[in-house]
């Protein structure tokens, strides 16, 4: 039955994105653990899959982007991938919006962002969330996930389900400010990228948030580095779900 199911329904791929896979390895581990906890039968293709093309497209290499999309399509088809779950907002935006544009109807793979997946899993009773009573958290919308993909509510709902006291920064959702990490700014203009990050972190301090949470490895790494001296700790979304002890310890400090 299971085998037949797989043949007809195809495989679910966990696609972490290059930054998570090669640099944010703990985050990748967290997300894999979450998939296992939810009882998802998934595959990974770490050595075969290629970059989604987000940095390539952003840097103006459109032909390379198209080639990456076509290459990935072939790899995914070879492995009967019918659904991809990714935690990376940039990959999510590329796979769900830009791939269909360059690949047309051939691209028929369902794309889910991890926050959508978690909310569904919790609602179906397949996943349990830790509780953080009275923790004051603000949520940073990653540009690719929020204003570029309209995913604003799912991550916020999950936070509320964890008994978190969610406070919004004055600039939130469609008006939210970038962390400064995207568009190539970190590599091409690191000082400016840091300034923009500090500006964003200050907005979290303004609303007395204890922590900033964001479901983006890039935003997380960039803000963590720039928030070291401030009073606000930065966490990637999965850390809150998987590393409850670590988070609680960090806040007590």
């Amino acid at each position: 039955m299971f085998i037949l199911d797989k043949i007809f329904k195809g495989n679910t791929l966990y696609y972490p994105g290059c930054l998570t896979k090669f640099v944010g390895k703990d985050i990748e581990k967290n997300y894999k653990e979450l998939l296992k906890k939810a009882g998802v039968d998934f595959v990974v293709l770490p050595d075969l899959e290629k970059c989604c093309g987000s940095p390539v497209k952003n840097a103006g290499f459109e032909d390379d982007f198209k080639k990456l999309a076509a290459d990935n399509l072939k790899i995914f088809k070879d492995h009967s991938i019918k659904r991809i779950i990714t935690n990376c907002p940039a990959c999510y935006k590329m796979l769900s919006q830009d791939y269909p544009k360059v690949l047309g109807q051939e691209w028929d793979i369902e794309i889910r962002h991890f926050t959508e997946f978690i909310l569904e899993a919790v609602n179906k009773g397949k996943m349990k969330l830790p509780k953080y009573d009275n923790l004051k958290v603000t949520y940073h919308d990653p540009c690719h996930l929020g204003k570029q993909s309209d995913i604003y509510d799912q991550p916020r709902e999950i936070l509320k389900m964890m008994n978190i006291n969610l406070v919004e920064m004055q600039l939130n959702k469609k008006n939210s400010f970038c962390c400064g990490g995207g568009g190539g700014l970190q590599s091409n203009n690191p000082e400016l990228a840091d300034k923009v990050a500090k500006q964003r972190i200050e907005q979290a301090s303004d609303v007395d948030a204890q922590i900033i949470i964001t479901p983006c490895t890039l935003c997380d790494m960039h803000m963590k580095r720039n928030g070291k001296d401030g009073g606000v700790s930065v966490f990637e979304f999965s850390e809150l779900l998987v590393n409850a002890e670590k988070v609680r310890k960090a806040i007590k400090r």
């Binding site: 290059c18 930054l19 090669f22 640099v23 390895k25 899959e49 290629k50 970059c51 940095p55 390539v56 497209k57 952003n58 840097a59 103006g60 290499f61 459109e62 390379d64 990456l68 290459d71 940039a90 540009c143 204003k147 570029q148 004055q170 600039l171 469609k174 008006n175 400010f177 970038c178 400064g180 990490g181 995207g182 568009g183 190539g184 700014l185 970190q186 590599s187 091409n188 203009n189 400016l192 990228a193 300034k195 923009v196 500006q199 964003r200 907005q203 303004d206 890039l218």
Partner: protein, 385 residues
């Protein structure tokens, strides 16, 4: 970053127009501006002919230089002229090129000129100056003691400029919109434009040819958007609609030009590279109504006081591609795509930032932006993102 300014702006804007109304207006504006730019040549010809029929003198200037030559001829030997805020005129650098003294009559422009510190924001040139700094500049430049309070500063500026505006012979303004049917539309809150476009004998209007729309119905939409997206207002305090020099037929139905308002209206329409741009892939640049909304929500502008610019190699790569500018543009200029397309153009010219060069080499060779990664290793240099 001026957080108070940004949050108040967002709040006012959302009250001025619901998001549904805003989206509808954006679509209409995009379409009407696109039609205008796609038919630029025809629109310019029609506007010129209509304005002339209304009694205006119209000059088509191929370049900023030609516009300055026309200005010189019209201004003649006048010692000073009174001027309103205009981004088109700013680009002419007239204070260096004209003999006449230029008196800035917009409060923000006047203050910014005194302080010698002009913010690049198209609507709020004194945005980055505090009351104290302004009071200090007035003391230094005009030897007057003014309490560092907004109200007192405005009172001082009003009194200082009133006499100059009333006695000037030439008023110089920009235009927010010009219609193919011969109307010039200039909006404002302060009232200085109403005075300097009506009181001096000559009113000179300088505008880019991209300011032309079909009719007043379309012009009203631009005015609405400029108010809502520009300052979060529902409608500007004043909308000046000028169709020609003042006139009267009160005596025996004899047509006399020059009653109470301006006796001459001169319109200088500047072409520059706009016909060329209108045919190319960056034509949406010409849709701009100069409201400044892209500045207000740009994280980079808020951090460093300068907005990234797609066509400028240095300034392009200061953009994080967050898309705030594109999503907040009332005429739907897709700056997000423009940044990428300009990067594409730079790449073709082999003008590629070092980090991007490494990134693309790595992607082509290894399928990821970081390069060759052996089992378990973590790359140190992150050429991406």
């Amino acid at each position: 970053m001026n957080k108070k300014f940004v949050t108040e702006y967002i709040e006012k804007r959302s009250k001025a127009l619901s998001s549904k109304e805003a989206e509808e207006l954006r679509d209409k504006l995009y379409n009407l501006k696109k039609t205008a730019i796609d038919n630029l040549d025809e629109y310019v010809k029609k506007a010129k002919s209509s304005l002339e029929k209304n009694g205006c003198h119209v000059y088509l200037a191929k370049s900023n230089q030609e516009a300055i030559e026309e200005l010189k001829k019209i201004i003649g030997d006048e010692k000073y002229i009174v001027k309103s805020k205009s981004n088109t005129i700013n680009k002419l650098k007239i204070d260096e090129k004209l003999k006449a003294e230029i008196v800035e009559t917009d409060t923000g422009d006047f203050i910014a000129a005194l302080a010698g510190k002009k913010d690049p924001h198209p609507v709020i040139p004194a945005l980055s100056l505090t009351e104290k700094e302004i009071s200090k500049a007035i003391k230094e430049k005009l030897s007057k003691d003014v309490e560092p309070k907004a109200e007192k500063i405005v009172e001082f500026v009003r009194n200082y400029l009133r006499e100059k505006m009333l006695s000037a012979k030439v008023g110089l303004t920009g235009a927010n919109v010009i219609t193919t049917q011969g109307q010039i539309v200039i909006l404002e809150n302060e009232g200085n434009i109403s005075i300097i476009s009506h009181v001096p004998e000559k009113h000179i209007v300088v505008a880019g040819i991209d300011k032309i729309v079909k009719d007043m119905d379309e012009a009203n939409k631009v005015v609405k958007a400029a108010a809502v997206w520009g300052t979060g207002q529902d409608w500007p305090n004043y909308v000046n609609v000028i169709s020609g020099p003042s006139k009267t037929g009160d005596i025996q139905n004899i047509h006399i030009e020059g009653a109470h308002g301006a006796q001459e209206v001169h319109v200088i329409l500047i072409e520059n590279d706009k016909y060329e741009v209108a045919k190319g892939k960056y034509k949406d640049k010409l849709f701009c109504i100069n409201c400044g909304a892209c500045y207000d929500l740009c994280p980079v502008y808020n951090a460093i006081g300068q907005i990234p610019k797609p066509s400028d190699f240095e300034r392009n790569y200061k953009c994080t591609l967050c898309s705030n500018c594109a999503l907040n543009c009332p005429v739907k200029i897709d700056r997000q795509s423009n940044f990428r397309n300009n990067r594409k153009d730079f790449n073709k010219l082999e003008k590629i930032p070092q980090a991007n060069k490494k990134m693309i080499e790595n992607v082509r060779k290894y399928g990821n932006p970081f390069g060759e990664i052996k089992d378990g290793d973590t790359p140190k240099e992150l050429y991406c993102c």
